[in-house]
């Protein structure tokens, strides 16, 4: 998913207030920006929502890569609309984070200088048009797994952002699957491209859920606060159970010889991704980390004069009527 390895912050608040706060959460109450909240809850949420927002923003790059090279005008307009949605998702989430007392520019600067992360998945390259299919089908599909339950998260602005996002996500996944169907039913070369895209995106998609967190104290705290709804393994299992039959429908092979239905547990057995690779990507050593961050920095730096110019113009316009009085 788009927020990985979120450490919960320690909280040193009045135990009585903490207990009352936990009671509200346990009762299914929504926490709103002006409500009292533990410092740890606030900080953990800033990190989680911020990382989620950054992922939506950086996630535009691998797909933006193909807008000018989409095979038809229709595919191009669809992809453009999808990428535009992702910009919107980033914006909804930044606004939710801002209600916790951090500014948009602060969040952006933390992304740009590497203090905040974005999802590992966007550090993989999109090499062919079939990758647009695989990204929509698998990456957006994995994101949906995580985002649907988050609509019931305890923090009101976050939950409301998720409701909006979930409404738009299923278009994303369907347009991806539609591309995959077209490719899988196309020429031999198209089939090969579709299979190759699945081969490259399968394990990075499984990594999106993060390593097993069954014994993580951070996850336990976040679950108590209802800002994490399911364990990473639970969501990964759900994703594989949903996706494996879809791959079969496409006539494609999941690149995992050990993938097989386990009647007893009512789910698939499958191989874990290479977690060393995952940690390496998080450390900045994925195939595209440098390129992605450089691109974000370039856009921010080159847009500086526009942001400042528009602000200066607005200030001048505001000053005029007063001067005329």
């Amino acid at each position: 998913m788009y927020a990985q390895m979120i450490k919960s912050e320690a909280t040193q608040d009045d135990p009585e207030k903490l207990a009352a706060f936990q009671a509200r959460i346990d009762a299914g109450d929504t926490i709103e920006p002006k409500d009292w909240m533990p410092e740890g809850y606030r900080k953990t949420l800033i990190r989680q929502i911020g990382q989620h927002a950054h992922s939506e923003i950086v996630g535009q790059l691998p797909e933006g890569n193909w807008i000018t090279r989409a095979p038809t005008l229709e595919r191009k307009t669809i992809l453009l609309a999808k990428v535009q949605d992702e910009a919107g998702h980033g914006l909804y989430l930044y606004c939710a984070a801002e209600t916790l007392g951090v500014s948009r520019d602060e969040l952006t600067e933390m992304l740009l200088d590497g203090r905040m992360k974005y999802s590992s998945i966007f550090n993989y390259p999109t090499l062919t048009w079939a990758d647009m299919g695989a990204v929509g089908w698998l990456v957006d599909g994995a994101a949906i797994m995580n985002q649907v339950p988050l609509q019931r998260t305890s923090y009101g602005p976050y939950a409301r952002a998720m409701v909006r996002i979930c409404k738009e996500e299923s278009f994303h996944q369907r347009q991806g699957f539609d591309i995959m169907m077209k490719m899988a039913n196309g020429t031999a070369a198209q089939r090969r491209m579709a299979q190759d895209a699945l081969n490259r995106f399968w394990y990075p998609s499984l990594m999106m859920f993060g390593p097993s967190d069954q014994d993580s104290v951070h996850s336990a705290q976040s679950m108590k606060w209802r800002i994490k709804m399911n364990s990473n393994d639970e969501l990964r299992q759900k994703f594989v159970d949903q996706t494996a039959p879809q791959a079969a429908f496409l006539g494609l092979t999941v690149p995992d010889p050990d993938l097989c239905w386990n009647e007893e547990k009512g789910g698939y057995d499958f191989s874990q991704p290479d977690w060393d690779e995952f940690f390496d990507v998080l450390r900045g050593n994925g195939p595209c980390n440098t390129e992605r961050l450089a691109e974000q920095n370039r856009a921010w730096d080159e847009g500086k004069w526009v942001r400042e110019g528009l602000m200066a113009h607005a200030a001048k316009k505001n000053a005029q009527p007063i001067a005329a009085e």
């Binding site: 709103e32 009292w36 914006l91 505001n318």
Partner: protein, 97 residues
């Protein structure tokens, strides 16, 4: 590092949909002025025909009630159950009322 902060102000966005409902808060966004906020709101919050009218209000202009005063603020209405029509038993014979 000294930074001159020129962050665009925050606006709260309200959208009225097609079916005569009142404007509803949908979220917020940054823009340098009100006109730009309306344009940005069009792009961000009405990508799927969600609205026919947009209001933008500087977030700083919103005054909100105090969540800690919730109890005292809404207590007066708790005891006035007779404000609801279901408080009154009207015999079935009277018909629809």
């Amino acid at each position: 590092m000294t930074k001159s902060r020129t962050e665009w102000p925050l606006w709260e966005i309200f959208i009225r949909g097609q079916h005569g409902m009142s404007h509803r808060h949908v979220g917020s966004l940054h823009a340098q002025d009100a006109d730009a906020a309306v344009r940005n709101a069009r792009d961000v919050y009405t990508r799927r025909n969600e609205g026919v009218s947009i209001w933008v209000v500087p977030s700083a202009s919103i005054t909100a009630s105090d969540p800690d005063a919730k109890g005292a603020l809404y207590e007066p209405s708790h005891s006035k159950v007779y404000r609801h029509p279901t408080f009154f038993d009207i015999p079935d014979d009277v018909g629809h009322m």
